[in-house]
């Protein structure tokens, strides 16, 4: 090959790679532009009103005369809804991930995978429509009986499990010949207490009247379901990544499947599960349509603060709902405050993303070292 031809070849390779790099850098540019443009329109607000009012006052009257921009109730609304979705999605998601990675046979797993994919693929507006048109009236009309049914469904199996563990712990020091009988009696007594408690609870819950079906509870449940696919798939991936060797080693020592999971696999995959939770929760925090349609959009702090039955308002719904009116008055505090809220949202999501990225990478390195 002549020198000129080889130089030409190197030159084309260089330029083509440069071109590829340039196109790849679009993501970098996009992230920078997003930060820059959200911040550019958020800064005028902070210049105009300072930081204190936004984070400490609960008076949200952006179109009032004079306007007030206290978003504390909105932040708390977002937090409450997020907490609710965590309560729904995390136990369910982790349990489902365990089932998918270690318990269900291959064929059943292949059937469950599409369920997760469809849950992830359904448009958020379809979830929101369901929450508003079907779930909200149901909560409003049959809220009490639904709540008590849910209490039974959740508390009974969990309570039985806890009773089992307690009675197991309690009879440990007792002599072996009476242990069996003692355990049985203790368990029976505790079960009776549990059932009585549940009966009392469901009697109370049955009387609960829900004033409006569009409230924090409704949104929390729907957001929890929306966050499930992310949590299940990421957590399952990291449970699988723990590898066969660890499991087989544990089984060989005589451990049961549950012991293997709790003492070996989950400690090894724990950071991955935390990353999964972070990613799933961020989906709930950033979700707009469901909360806009079904949270009630009332900018107030619920009393008491954990009252899930009261309507709330979140960051995303505020941005979506107020921008339509603020659009026309470009440059006003009303327009810029929404960008300030968006900046808070953006920074939260950045932090959460970097954290989960870092955790996942660390786990990869650690598990890699194990092999």
């Amino acid at each position: 090959m002549s020198e000129a031809a080889s130089r030409l070849r190197r030159l084309t390779a260089f330029f083509s790679q440069g071109f590829l790099l340039l196109a790849t850098a679009l993501s970098l540019v996009a992230v920078l532009l997003i930060i820059a443009y959200i911040a550019r329109d958020a800064i005028p607000f902070f210049k105009l009103r300072g930081l204190k009012e936004l984070f400490s006052s609960t008076a949200w009257f952006p179109s009032g005369q004079p306007p007030e921009f206290g978003a504390l109730a909105i932040f708390i609304g977002s937090g409450l809804v997020t907490l609710g979705s965590i309560l729904v999605a995390v136990p369910l998601g982790i349990a489902a991930a365990i089932a998918l990675s270690d318990i269900l046979p291959y064929r059943v797993r292949q059937l469950v995978k599409p369920v997760i994919e469809i849950l992830a693929a359904l448009p958020s507006v379809a979830y929101g429509f369901f929450a508003l048109v079907i779930f909200a009236p149901l909560l409003q009309n049959r809220g009490g009986s639904l709540l008590s049914m849910a209490a039974w469904l959740i508390a009974l199996p969990l309570g039985l499990l806890i009773i089992f563990v307690i009675s197991e712990m309690a009879v440990r020091s007792v002599r072996e010949d009476v242990a069996k009988a003692a355990r049985l009696i203790l368990a029976a007594a505790l079960t009776a207490i549990l059932v009585r408690g549940l009966l009392a609870l469901s009697a109370v819950l049955n009387k609960v009247a829900i004033g409006s079906g569009t409230n924090a509870l409704n949104v929390s449940i729907i957001l929890g379901i929306m966050a499930l696919p992310t949590i299940v798939s990421v957590a399952e991936d990291s449970l699988q990544a723990a590898g066969r060797e660890l499991r087989e080693g544990s089984y060989a020592l005589g451990a049961t499947r549950a012991e293997t999971l709790f003492k070996v696999i989950i400690p090894a995959a724990g950071s991955g599960i935390i990353a999964a939770v972070i990613l799933g929760v961020m989906r709930a925090v950033g979700e707009t349509m469901v909360v806009w349609m079904a949270s009630g959009n009332a900018a107030q702090i619920p009393t008491p603060w954990f009252n899930f039955l009261s309507p709330v308002r979140t960051l995303t719904a505020t941005i979506a709902g107020d921008m339509g009116e603020a659009d026309q008055v470009l440059g006003s505090g009303r327009y810029h405050v929404l960008f300030a809220l968006a900046l808070c949202l953006l920074l939260t999501s950045f932090a959460a993303n970097l954290a989960s990225e870092w955790i996942l990478r660390r786990q990869q390195r650690r598990l890699g070292g194990l092999k």
Binding site: T12, S16, L28, I134, L161
Partner: protein
Amino acid sequence: MDLQARKLFDRSLTSISIMAVVLMSLALLVLLAPIFSRGLGAFFFRGTSEHRRLALEQFNRGNAQAVASEIRIVGAARRPVYEMLSAFEDELDGMDSTRRQGYRAQLKEIKSLLRELLGPLPGEMEAVMLRQQYGQTRWDRARVKLKAILYSEEWDYSDTRSMGKKVLRSRQKIFAGTRLDPMFPYMENNLSRMLRPRFTFYWRFLTDLSLDSHFFGGIWPEILGTIYLTLGAMLLAIPFGIIAAIYLSEFAAGGRLVSLLRVCISTLAGVPSIVFGLFGLAFFINTLHLSSSKSVLAGSATLALLILPTIIRASEEALKAVPHTYKEAALSLGASPLRMVLTVLLPAALPGILTGIIISMGRAAGETAPIIFTAAVSVGQPLKLWETISQPTPALPWNIYNLATEHQAVDEIRHVQFGMVLTLVLLVLLLNLAAILIRARISKKMRG
């Protein structure tokens, strides 16, 4: 712990985790069942004679003679109602003024309900709004209106401890003894003769224009808008996505820059969709001035940024799954790396890349938040292709929100809302199904 306890513990873990999977599947079922069952109601329903009259007059569809003779038949069935009404009005003039006052308000209500049920009363001026020119086109809605005529809804607040209760009060009793008295049983017994419900398969719901802000007609403008937005986003995102994937999987040699790029991609994937919408407004419209206000172009560009990370990740996975031997064979034959990528790597990875593209297409079609400020309007005509550069469009996700929350008669057009949701959900599900099928084919091929 003894062996039995350990076993029991193991079993309870198994059952709890299986219960979680069952609950998850149940949630999906509960979600989809009403959307499907009520969404199909937009396509399959019992259409009344008013539906056929509307189809003929507004869409020029159906047999003109058959419709004319049907109008005559239902007209004959409706005549007694109108006769009783006018007879009662004559009777009203002879009453003393206090009694007359009481009946007047009731009569006015009944007349407006009759107009909604059967269309304009005979001898009245042509209404301006299209919704007032026709009666109920759907039998299920007609039954609801009939009930409103037969019973007036009142709220009982006598029990102060609980919320007000709804009480139905028979209107026939209010008019007992007057000439309007027999109208109520006549209406109840002869409604089907007055409206002649027939089973209708209205597949043109997908391709008809909306009439009088979705009171009648179909959802074509929304469907077309969604297609434009999705295809526009794909057109912008696919080239960049695939190029980035090729660079990251083949040419990137570790280092700080590449890991920075990867962090950026996952960060971009985590940005909340509403922030994308604000960014699109601030950047594409207020800064770049792609269009003077909302437009399909600005919306597509915003959606493209949103799906870029998905496409990059899926394509990279697909490229990495191509066996090393392929690449090595191509390179050893003297092909330049670029040529190897174009002629060997890309064709081998194409099905995998396609899967990612299809899935992100479903995502782009269903996203609402990014297009609120950049592309979507509630009412609009279907756009021509060249108008997409400068014009906003209605789109399925946005209009579902809009019809379900902001429309002036939310309850009257539930079937349209459910029809739209079903259309969008089916679109997304079909795209996902296609992706699943392609993936199944790939894994079959890989196995041999």
